[in-house]
């Protein structure tokens, strides 16, 4: 393996841009990816970030205990903003999750071969993000021991949840999404787990990886069924990419609050979700490829493709913001108009302008090739998008502050517990993600090999020449 890096961002119609760099054979690919899991000790950066993430996750657990003992009064949720940080965080994390499914399902069906290097950890990111998301509505019910009321379970009260409420649809949408994403992630991982099992140096590892690789032997029949299952799951997951965040948007759009009650919400939320998800993929991919030396797989071309998606979805989001204002004016509904003027110039205008500068202006920088291909600059833009997308949900939820009746207006102030729970959820997310990197194959080993030119049966042949 040479260490010559090739610039694979160049578009040359005569030749496919290589997606795996500096590898001529499959064995070295396996070797390089497995090194992440097989190194006797992870890099120092892993320890440092794991300790920090773990401490924050621990803090979250403590705050949860405090919350369960004391009640939701410890949050800033107060009349008229009964939905404060918990719903903001929920929508934020669910949105992050959308990149994983988009990469694994839609890009797969569209035969976007570059997805193979990033799909595994994007799917992992999705699952961990949905775990963080699911946490917040669960604890928002206040009486956590009654959280099972979210589900339609026959009970001694003779009551069902309100089937006409989007909050219930949400329960179904998110739990379906989690199940399908988890299955997708796991099914895709089985052959790679078998690789780790076969390479395991200790009996313990062999047993653990062996259990989870479900007796995979890599026979033709195994591969055939695996590919079928994967394709079917991709087809099942594709509508979910669009439906889940549409349903999340119904939480708002189905209500009658000015600023929420708009038909643009479902597509606008989906675009925003993919936007934030891809920004998070890049936020995680950039340090990961650096620390674990995965630059041959997650190449500049991959990052640039992600940036292009961020640019597209960011523009969609910006367009949606504009349309909201246009409709507020064009509809002639003065409550609607007030809601939007208030958003931009009212008491939380600072949040609105953080949102606009992070979500609308910053991705536009990706029109420039230089910025799209500069690691530090794209990292900054992606961080800005993460921040901006959190503030987008914050701004939307704060429409509650000033509705129809001036007498019921208020000002939302989060408590320190709100803020630390948000930070703690990042700790939980990063803890899970770091454990994933250490113990599971971070890149889809078998899939990545398939996009190498060597995987083509005619690879060694010259044009018009029969194989010897």
């Amino acid at each position: 393996m040479s260490s010559v890096t090739i610039d694979n961002t160049v578009e040359d119609p005569k030749q496919r841009a290589p997606l795996v760099l500096n590898h001529d054979d499959f064995a070295s690919v396996t070797e390089e990816i497995c090194r992440v899991n097989e190194a006797p000790k992870p890099p120092k950066a892993w320890y440092v970030s794991f300790i920090i993430a773990n401490m924050l996750a621990g803090l979250l657990v403590l705050l949860l205990a405090y919350l369960f003992i004391t009640g939701v009064g410890i949050w800033g949720n107060q009349n008229p903003v009964m939905w404060g940080f918990p719903i903001v965080n929920f929508v934020f994390w669910v949105g992050i999750g959308h990149a994983g499914t988009l990469i694994s399902a839609i890009l797969f069906l569209f035969r976007q071969r570059w997805r193979t290097a990033i799909n595994r950890f994007a799917e992992a990111m999705t699952i961990f993000a949905v775990i963080c998301a699911g946490l917040f509505p669960g604890i928002h019910v206040g009486r956590i021991w009654l959280a099972y009321w979210l589900f339609p379970i026959p009970n001694q009260m003779g009551m069902w949840p309100q089937f006409r409420s989007p909050l219930l649809w949400d329960v179904f949408a998110v739990s379906t999404y989690f199940t399908v994403s988890l299955l997708f992630w796991y099914v895709g991982m089985v052959p790679d787990l078998a690789t780790l099992r076969d390479r395991a140096t200790s009996r313990f590892k062999a047993i653990i990886y062996g259990l989870f690789s479900l007796g995979w032997r890599g026979s033709m029949r195994h591969w055939h069924r695996y590919e079928r299952a994967y394709l079917l799951l991709a087809a099942l997951a594709t509508p979910l990419v669009l439906s889940v965040h549409s349903v999340v948007s119904f939480d708002f759009a189905v209500s009658q609050l000015p600023g929420w009650h708009t038909t643009i919400f479902p597509p606008y939320f989906v675009a925003g979700a993919i936007f934030s998800g891809f920004a998070m993929v890049n936020t995680l991919a950039i340090p990961s490829r650096q620390i674990w030396g995965l630059k041959n797989f997650i190449t500049m071309r991959h990052l640039e493709n992600i940036n292009k998606i961020i640019l597209v979805t960011g523009s969609m989001v910006g367009f949606a913001y504009m349309m909201e204002f246009f409709i507020a004016w064009y509809s002639g509904a003065h409550y609607e108009a007030f809601a939007f003027i208030n958003r931009a110039f009212g008491q939380h205008a600072w949040a609105y302008w953080i949102m606009v500068s992070c979500n609308v202006i910053s991705p536009q920088l990706f029109w420039f090739k230089k910025i799209r291909r500069s690691i530090p600059l794209m990292f900054i833009v992606c961080l800005a998008v993460n921040v901006g997308m959190w503030f987008e949900r914050f701004v939307i939820v704060l429409s509650l502050e000033q509705d129809f009746l001036p007498s019921s207006w208020g000002y939302f102030t989060p408590t320190w517990i709100d803020i630390w729970m948000l930070i703690g959820s990042f700790g939980l997310f990063m803890t899970l993600f770091l454990l994933f990197i250490r113990f599971l194959p971070v890149i889809a080993i078998s899939e990545v090999k398939a996009v190498m030119p060597q995987a083509d049966p005619h690879h060694d042949q010259k044009h018009g020449e029969a194989k010897a």
Partner: protein, 219 residues
């Protein structure tokens, strides 16, 4: 291939089917256990605490044919069906079975001016408001909720008193409606004595439209 790679013995082939079987059966069992085992039907029905005096409803309400309202006299006008004061007992027991051992506590408490420490049988949660008069005055008889008290030596809880049980009747009250004259007649069964049409007429007569709003019972 190295033989050492085969870390699993042959029986481990059964692990996956077993896991699948267990992971379907166990949750199902837990759900059924919770649904039936912890339902008020299983936990509350049949609650029969020992009372300080072996008062027999079977004798008083059954054999002697005393009306429920003789002792529980507030039932037609108030939310609560009163537990009778000791004085009510003494109306008769001043003379009857004066020297019975079983009534010793009655006389003692009467002389000291205290109440008999009866143990409550039908106890709804504190967040539920039930109004006896509202039901009695519209033709829902005692027996609908309390069962055949006139046949009980010691009173026990006959119905689950769960929310679903309340709602069952609120959603379909007609099978429980009777003429007001038969309110305390525990042997009267509207399903036998009345036609469906007559029960419907009763419903119309008392304009019964039971509310199912949360605030009806959870005030």
């Amino acid at each position: 291939m190295n033989r050492q790679h085969y870390v699993f013995p042959k029986w481990s082939n059964m692990l996956l089917p077993t896991l699948i079987a267990v992971s379907t059966v166990v949750p199902l069992y837990v759900v059924l256990l919770a649904a039936y085992g912890f339902s008020p039907k299983a936990t509350d029905v049949g609650y029969q605490p020992e009372q300080p005096i072996p008062f027999s409803h079977a004798v008083h309400a059954g054999q002697l044919g005393m009306d429920c309202r003789y002792c529980h006299n507030t039932v037609e006008v108030a939310a609560k069906a009163a537990i009778p004061p000791t004085q009510t007992c003494m109306n008769c027991h001043e003379k009857i079975k004066k020297d019975s051992d079983q009534l010793q506590l009655l006389h003692e408490t009467y002389q000291r001016g205290e109440s008999i420490p009866w143990v409550r049988v039908h106890d709804l949660p504190d967040y539920v408001y039930f109004h006896h008069a509202a039901h009695i005055s519209r033709g829902v008889g005692c027996v609908s909720c309390h069962g055949r008290v006139d046949q009980m030596e010691v009173v026990y809880q006959h119905e689950p008193l769960s929310m679903a049980w309340c709602l069952n009747c609120h959603r379909n009250p007609e099978p429980h409606l009777r003429p007001l004259g038969e309110i305390t007649n525990l042997a009267y069964d509207p399903m036998v004595e009345l036609t469906a049409d007559e029960r419907h007429q009763l419903r119309k007569l008392h304009s019964i439209d039971p509310s199912q709003d949360c605030s009806t019972c959870h005030r």
